[in-house]
Every structure is written in C-alpha cells, then in structure tokens.
C-alpha cells in the first residue's frame, strides 16, 4: 500500500540512495571504496569495530543463553519477573542507560565504590572506563534483549513432549540439557547472534559516551566526521560502507535465519 511505501522511500530508501550517491559522486565508484581505506584511522577503526562486534556478540550470546534458560527454568513468577526486567530496560532510553553506565564505570564511580566496599578492588578501581573491556557490559546490556528474544522463541518452540520423552527415556539432567535443550536452541542462537552482530556494527551511542581513545569504532569516525562536515565525500563513503555491510548481512541473515520474524515477539 501507498503510505508505508512513501514513508520508506522518504525516510529510508531515499536517504540510503542519496548517501551512496554522494559517496560515489564525491569519490567516484572506485574512490568510494579506496579513498576511506587510505586513511589509517579508518582502517584501524574498521578493525576495532569488527573486534568489538565479535566480542560483544559472543559475550551477549553467552549471557543471553544463560538468561533465557534462567527465564525458562526459574519458578514461573521469577521467570516472569526476569523477563519483565529485561523488557523494562529494553524500553528505557538508550541514552539514559548509557549515561547510567558512565556513572557506574567511571573511575571511583558506582562500580568502584561497590568493589571497594566489598574489598574486591583497591583505590585504583577496576579501571574499565574508556577501555574495550569496559565497553562490553554496556553493549551486552543493550544487546541482550535482541539475543534473548529469538533464543526464548526457540525454547518455547521446544516441544514439552520432547522434554518429557527424554526424561521418561531415562535421560539425566545433564544429558537432557546437552543433547536436547541446547541443540534445540541452535537456530534461535544463530538468529540472535546475527542480529546482535549487525546491530553492533553500526552502534554509536555507547562508544560515543563510554569509548576511550583506543575504541574509535567506525560509527564514531563517521559521527565525528558528520559533526564537522569537513569532508562530505569521506563521511558519505564511510556511511555507505557501513550501510551496505549491515544491509547485506541483514538480507542474508533474514533469508536464512528469518531474523526479521524475531521482532514479532518484542
């Protein structure tokens, strides 16, 4: 129908086309790819971006898997509360949560104070602020719902009869967990992993607030360039690069793992 098509064209497809168009116009078709690559800072940031995305994805996967199982296994009420908390944080402004992490992680901030009172750390604190490991907790925090949703869907799709079958066939808890439950979560895990990876590639707010000098991800570079508007060509080229990477990955992932269907469960 017309209204959504119009909105998509005006609000997404048009801007996407223009970004790519500007990238090509300013740099030429070859330059659009090679020109950003000549800047060591860009190459560096692409590496950082990939590293961050991969670590965040793995960490989120582990947390997501554990959390999903917890939701599924905890007493019903506790499970509902856990899920409620996940959703609550999901709907709370990204900015606010990120700022909360700033206050938590900064040297002598909430975490250090807590750590010191528990005797876990000395005056120097944990030293997570503005480091790559320090980006992990907030990023995982933000990505967790995207991971839990598809895995939870897989868990729900797990036929209770199969669990009962495994049990009545004499399976021990470990056997049931390892040979039945975990394999059943595979497709949900893939969907979540891809979703989180894709989202991590273009993530801006958290690195902007919590990133230190060593954590200049691609989105940060684009953000800084965008803020200055000195080099529209480079900015557009970087934007187009990120965009194409994300959209291609998304299209492929959606084909194979139907990740777009995961949103239905939000």
């Amino acid at each position: 129908m017309l209204p959504p098509a119009l909105l998509l064209v005006l609000g997404m497809l048009g801007p996407v086309a223009v970004t790519i168009g500007v990238a090509l116009r300013e740099n030429g078709p070859v330059g659009a790819v090679t020109q950003p690559m000549r800047d060591p800072m860009v190459v560096h940031s692409i590496g950082k971006t990939l590293l961050l995305a991969v670590t965040v994805t793995i960490a989120t996967w582990i947390c997501g898997l554990l959390f999903t199982l917890a939701v599924g296994l905890a007493p019903r009420v506790v499970g509902q509360i856990l899920f409620g908390i996940l959703f609550l944080t999901f709907w709370i402004s990204l900015l606010v949560r990120t700022y909360g992490w700033v206050l938590t992680l900064q040297p002598n901030g909430a975490l250090d104070t807590l750590g010191r009172s528990l005797g876990l750390t000395d005056a120097a604190g944990f030293g997570l602020f503005q480091t790559l490991p320090g980006l992990l907790p907030p990023m995982v925090h933000i990505m967790l719902p995207y991971m839990v949703l598809p895995i939870y869907a897989s868990l729900q799709a797990l036929d209770p009869a199969q669990v009962r079958a495994a049990r009545s066939l004499g399976g021990s808890e470990f056997l049931v967990l390892r040979r039945l439950v975990l394999p059943s979560l595979r497709s949900g895990s893939w969907a979540g992993v891809l979703l989180v990876f894709i989202l991590s590639l273009g993530f801006y707010v958290t690195p902007a607030f919590l990133g230190g000098p060593g954590t200049q991800v691609l989105a940060m570079v684009i953000g800084v360039q965008f803020g200055r508007l000195e080099n529209i060509g480079l900015t557009a080229a970087l934007g187009a690069l990120l965009l194409i990477a994300v959209l291609v990955l998304y299209a492929i992932a959606d084909r194979i793992f139907k990740i777009s269907e995961q949103w239905e469960r939000v």
């Binding site: 856990l82 709907w91 990204l94 909430a110 273009g202 900015t235």
Partner: protein, 269 residues
C-alpha cells in the same frame, strides 16, 4: 516450559541464580542514575548526598528543559501517528499480497537494523538543500521511519491471531476490501494498533541519535538536551530528566501491558 522445569530439578536453581545476577546487571545503570536525581549536591556525583526535589523542579520549570520536553512530545506524537498509520496499513497490505511477502517484510523491517547514525547522515544529505537538513520535520520523518516497523510487527502479530476467514467471510457476504478492513480487521486489531502506537511514541520520545544530528539547537528534544547537558554542565538535572524518562517508559510499558494483556477481541472468543 513447565515440562522443562520439571525435567531439570537440580540445575534449575543454578540457572535461576545466574538469571537473577544478570537481572541485577540489567538494573545496575538505572540504580546508579536514579538516586542522583534526588541529590542535593550541585554536581552529578556518585553517591548522592542529601535529598531534594530541586532538580526535578529545574527540569520541569527551566524553559530550556521544558521546551525540550515539549519538542520531544510534539515530534514523538507526530511520528507515532505517522508510524501508526503507515505501519498498520503495511501490516494489512502484507496480509493481502501473496507473492514476495518475505521480501516486503524484510524491507519493511530494515529500519530496525539500519545504523541510526547513517540514517541521520542520509536524511541530512537528502534534505539539507530542501529544508537545511536540520529541522523537526526531517527528524519526525526519520523517527516515523524508525518506529513504523514496530507498529508493523505489533499489528501483524495481532492480525496473525485474526482468522483470515473472517475477511473472506465478509467478502463473500458482499463487502469490498475497504469495508472489510474498516469493519472487520481494524476493529479486531484495535488494541494492537494502540499498543504499537504507544511503543512507537516511546521509541521516538527517547530517540537520541537522529535527534542529535538532525535537530536545530533552538529546538532540542529531551534526549538531545540530556546529551548536550552531559557535556555542558554535568548537573544532576540530567539524572532528574533521566528519572522522568524512566518513569515515562515504565508507565507506557504498563499501559501497553494492560492494553495487550486484554487480547484483541478475536482471541478472546
């Protein structure tokens, strides 16, 4: 799920403990921010000292904060309405098309994975010559685009619970499709439409990246005001504003849960 609980009586406890730990982790940043909204110190410093409402007072009475709340509300309402109309019609349309449904869905949901920064860049580049690139109108357009998929999925989920035969029945009873949509499908997914619109509003109200790059300074929205305040003065007003944002999110979520927990009429039958 019950079967699973029963199947793993011994490991359950461990997982529950881990789940609770992760939940604490999820709440940690909120726990860090909220008390600071009531600090009586003039600096945004942890832990909070004393107790005072002064920062709420600041946020609610200072014209700059007030204006930003108004701007946010205006943009979010408009964007949510646009998202509601477009998302709902998209959901209704996708139900009708037979071929290529997957591709259409993929495209419709693409805004959810688009890096918002790049979307902001694209919007800026596209509209800079038309409206100077930065205006509430462009921001509204961008946020509506971001929020549309939310309405789309909510309404799609609602529609999925509506028996497709209802539409066919209405048709065979003598109605053209516009009447079928109007008399049968919309009334039945009314709650989903409203839930979707509320979620869209919540998302737009909180949206920071597009707003940061697209709004003119005289028309900052609340998240941008929080963002810039964080770099201008680090005052506890930020925490107070954050607390308000959290309250709003909780309220909206509760409303959605209430609207959503009563199923669309179809499902109740």
């Amino acid at each position: 799920m019950d079967a699973l609980r029963d199947a793993l009586p011994r490991t359950r406890g461990w997982f529950t403990a881990i789940g609770v730990l992760i939940a604490v982790f999820l709440l940690a940043p909120l726990i860090a921010v909220l008390p600071l909204a009531f600090t009586s110190s003039k600096y945004l410093v942890f832990p909070a000292v004393g107790f005072s409402w002064q920062w709420f007072d600041t946020v609610l009475t200072d014209p700059a904060w007030q204006g930003s709340i108004m701007n946010s509300a205006r943009v979010a309402v408009t964007a949510a309405v646009i998202a509601m109309v477009t998302g709902t019609s998209a959901a209704l349309a996708v139900r009708r098309i037979s071929g290529g449904r997957r591709i259409v869905r993929t495209v419709l949901l693409a805004p959810m994975v688009m890096p918002q920064l790049v979307l902001a860049l694209g919007l800026y580049l596209t509209y800079k010559n038309l409206v100077g690139g930065t205006s509430l109108t462009v921001l509204t357009l961008g946020q509506a685009t971001l929020a549309m998929p939310l309405v789309f999925v909510t309404v799609s989920a609602g529609l999925a619970a509506v028996d497709p035969n209802l539409s066919r029945a209405a048709q065979s009873l003598g109605y053209r499709w516009p009447s079928v949509v109007w008399r049968i499908e919309l009334p039945l997914v009314g709650r989903s439409v409203i839930s979707g619109a509320i979620l869209a509003f919540a998302v737009c109200f909180d949206e920071a990246v597009l707003a940061f790059f697209l709004v003119p300074p005289s028309q900052q929205t609340l998240p941008v005001k929080i963002w810039t305040s964080a770099s201008e003065n680090a005052s506890p007003a930020i925490a107070a504003a954050s607390a308000l944002v959290i309250c709003l999110a909780v309220t909206l979520l509760a409303v959605v849960a209430l609207v959503g927990s009563r199923p669309n009429k179809q499902e109740a039958s």
